[in-house]
Amino acid sequence: MKYLDEFQNPELARRLLGEIRATVTRPWALMEVCGGQTHTIIRHGIDQLLPEEVELIHGPGCPVCVTPLAVIDQALEIAARPEVIFCSFGDMLRVPGTDRDLFRVRGEGGDVRVVYSPLDALKIAQQNPHREVVFFGIGFETTAPPNAMTVYQARKLGIGNFSMLVSHVRVPPAIEAIMTSSSCRVQGFLAAGHVCSVMGTDEYPALADRFRVPIVVTGFEPLDILEGIRRTVRQLERGEHTVDNAYPRAVRPDGNPAARAMLADVFEVTDRSWRGIGTIPASGWRLSDRYRDHDAEHRFSVGGITTREPAACRSGEVLQGLIKPHECEAFGTTCTPRTPLGATMVSSEGACAAYYLYRRLGSTPIPLEATPVV
């Protein structure tokens, strides 16, 4: 029980665990969708504290991990152009393309800048009217509205030298893809809280119904996750499959209507390929025709890229919850955060990185001195 003392409210955690233990009568496999939740789970040893009947499977919810290699390669090609200032969130810098990453491009003279917000990139475009400023717009439903607003602003303010390389992804089609896969073992979902802060919960009842699977909207703190698990297990034991909101302090049923309206204006739904998984129909957004002027894919012709994934990397299976990271042969040997083979090891939200950083090499956790997050 050593982990429990690290909880903010160990008493409450103990009580939630007690309730889970008292409820569970047979094995259940739950998937936490979001990489942020995976990190909380591994870091706090939540999976070790649970009764052995409850297994947590890690889901595909890490935007850095699922951005397809072809898009990374497009980004690298654009970033290397002398007329371009390429702006990105910091966690994309180390994601390996076919033969380099953004760090390398910068080392070779590319003007790559890290921004905290897409609006910072727009500001850079205003300040550098004679350069082309390109922002790398990736992420789930939480990141898409800020990026949508930025493109909207660029058009409104007539900032012609700003464009966005867009590769946004949506959670519900990913849930559908996981549930329709023949090897799927998932029986309940902990849905990603902040995605639902924007989108609300309207998209989920149809999925819960169709696949007879409980979907519980869950936050990111250890206690949030225990509460999400408690509610999911309770539904499963009762044979229920409804959508339940265990994160009401940040999630309203209709999400954020202003953000959803902006998404509908700026983006349109499109098929997207997910790194390691393949194409999922209607699983992403691209800029709608009205905003084509600000679409970097159209502005820079970066087609005809051939990509090569490292053969040893099994991140696709990790992302679909088919294997745990340490079951990959390269894990911790040829693949570490310093020498990553796949994006799931690079991203600080990736499942392979979580296992590596917290030294979860087998079923018994090895206590770890603080390791800096790379």
Binding site: Q8, G36, R43, F89, S117, P146, L157
Partner: protein, 99 residues
């Protein structure tokens, strides 16, 4: 990047027709766009993601989350400078190589 961090609205102003605020994240202060939660006022707490307020939050849970994030080093990860982090990491690697 996926992290959404609670912060406190310190000041609000209109810029280029957009509602912007300075927001305090437990000591780190950033510019934040309020267009998606337009009724926020000074003193309110909100969940902020990549420079955008996405949902109002009550003070108590905002405080708790911020404390936890700080403890876990997540604020540094979100707001720190990745070039610096990379330089530090390279220095560490070089040191290890000399051992």
């Amino acid at each position: 990047m996926c992290l959404a961090v609670p912060g406190k609205v310190m000041e609000i102003e209109e810029r280029d027709g957009t509602r912007m605020a300075t927001v305090d994240f437990g000591g780190v202060v950033k510019e934040v766009c309020l267009e998606y939660v337009p009724d926020l006022v000074v003193g309110d707490y909100a969940i902020v993601h990549v420079g955008f307020a996405l949902q109002r939050l009550d003070e108590e849970s905002a405080r708790r989350t911020l404390e936890l994030f700080e403890e876990l080093g997540l604020l540094q990860e979100e707001f720190g400078d990745p070039w610096e982090a990379a330089a530090a990491e390279e220095a560490m690697q070089a040191q290890e190589a000399r051992k």
